[in-house]
Symmetry: C3
Subunit: 109 residues, 3 copies
C-alpha cells in the first residue's frame, strides 16, 4: 500500500477528484495554500495498492494542465514622486506535485 | 515513532479528538472532504511512539461507528415528460480509514 | 527526498511561510486545529532534498518561539451555592512539532 500526497491547482481539483473516484480510488481532499503565491490550491490524500499506482499517476497527469499565470510582485517602497510600474511576473502553475510514501500498516476500523 | 493519518466521519470527530487527547496522545485535526460523497469529514494526524500504536488504534476502533447513509445519486439528464425517481443509494459510512507511516526523524524545535 | 510535516503555532505561521519560500523551499500550508487546546494552528507540508533538510530545520527553529499561554480549564459541574474559581492552567505552546518522512517516489506531472 502506498499513500500518495498530491498538490494540484485549485481549478483542476474538482475534475481530478471526480476522475479518481470514478476509477474506484479512495480519495480525501484537503484545502491548502501555496507558500509562494499564497493562493488556494488542493492537497489530495490517496491510499492505493502498489499495482494501481501507475494508473493513478496517469489520471493525475491527464487532468492537471500546466499554464502560465501572471502575478504582480509585491511593490517595493517608493519615494514620493517616483513611479513604480510593476512588471507582472510570469509564473508557471498547474501540473501536480506528487509525493509517494510507503504505508507500514493499513486498517479499516 | 509512527505517524498515523486517519480519516473519520464528521460526526465521530469531536468525541474521538477528546478521547485521544485525554489518553495523552498528541493530536492535530484537519478538515477534509470525501472524494465520493463530497461531504465534510475529518483527517487526524497523530505522532505516536511504536509501543503506543495498538492502544491508539483501539481508541479509534471504539469511537468510530459504521452506519448506513442513504445518498441520492446525481440525477441523469431526463427527456421532457419523462419522470426520474431516484432510488437512494445505501452507502456504508463511518468507521475509520487508517494509514500508519514510518517516521524517519522526530523533532520538537 | 524527504517529506517534512510540521505543526506550528498560528502566530508563527505567516512569517515562517515567507522565510521558507524566500530560501527557495517548496511549501504548502494547511489550516489545522490542536487536539488539546482546540485552537487553530498551521500544518506545513514541505518536500525537500536530503541535503537541504538541516537548513530547513534551522529556519523552523529560528522562527518558532516557545511561549506560555494561560488557558482556563473547562469548569466542572458545581453544586448551587458553591463557587468555582478556575485557576488558569499555564500551558507551553509555540515551538514546532516536526515529522520527517521518507519519500519513495517524487514526481512533477
Ligand atoms: N521560491 C520560489 N521562487 C520562484 N518560484 C516559485 C517559488 N516557489 C514556488 N514557485 C513557483 O510558483 C508556483 C506556485 O507555488 P506555490 O508555493 O504558491 O504553490 C505550490 C505549493 O503549494 C506546492 N508545492 C510545490 N513544490 C512543493 C514542495 N517541494 N513541497 C511542498 N509543496 C510544494 O505545489 C504548488 C504548485 O507548485 P508548482 O511548482 O507547480 O508552481 C510553483 C512554482 O512555479
Ligand atoms: N484509500 C483511501 N485513500 C484516501 N482516503 C480514503 C480512502 N478510503 C476512504 N477514504 C476516506 O474515508 C472516507 C470514508 O470512506 P469509507 O470507505 O468508510 O466509506 C466510503 C465508501 O463506503 C463509499 N465509496 C467511496 N468511494 C467509492 C467508490 N468509488 N464507489 C463506491 N462507493 C464508494 O462511500 C463512502 C464515503 O466515501 P468518501 O470518498 O466520501 O469519504 C472517504 C474518504 O474521504
Ligand atoms: N504527537 C503529535 N502528533 C500530532 N500533532 C501534535 C503532536 N504533538 C503536538 N502536536 C500538535 O502541535 C500543537 C502544539 O503542541 P505542543 O506540544 O507545542 O504544545 C501542546 C502541549 O504543551 C499541551 N498539551 C497537548 N496535549 C496535552 C495533554 N494530553 N495533556 C497536557 N498538555 C497537553 O498543549 C499544547 C497545545 O496542544 P494542541 O493539541 O492544542 O496543539 C498541538 C498539536 O496540534
Amino acid at each position: 500500500m502506498k499513500l500518495v500526497l498530491t498538490i494540484v491547482h485549485g481549478e483542476d481539483a474538482g475534475e481530478l477528484a471526480t476522475c479518481m473516484s470514478e476509477a474506484g480510488f479512495g480519495v480525501t481532499r484537503i484545502k491548502s495554500i501555496g507558500g509562494f503565491l499564497k493562493s488556494q490550491n488542493a492537497t489530495f490524500v490517496i491510499g492505493v495498492h502498489d499495482h494501481e499506482l501507475d494508473q493513478l499517476l496517469q489520471i493525475i497527469r491527464d487532468r492537471c494542465h500546466k499554464r502560465t499565470e501572471s502575478v504582480s510582485p509585491v511593490p517595493p517602497l517608493v519615494e514620493p514622486g517616483e513611479v513604480y510600474l510593476p512588471y507582472p511576473l510570469e509564473v508557471e502553475v498547474g501540473g501536480a506535485t506528487v509525493f509517494v510514501l510507503n504505508v507500514e500498516r493499513f486498517e479499516r476500523l
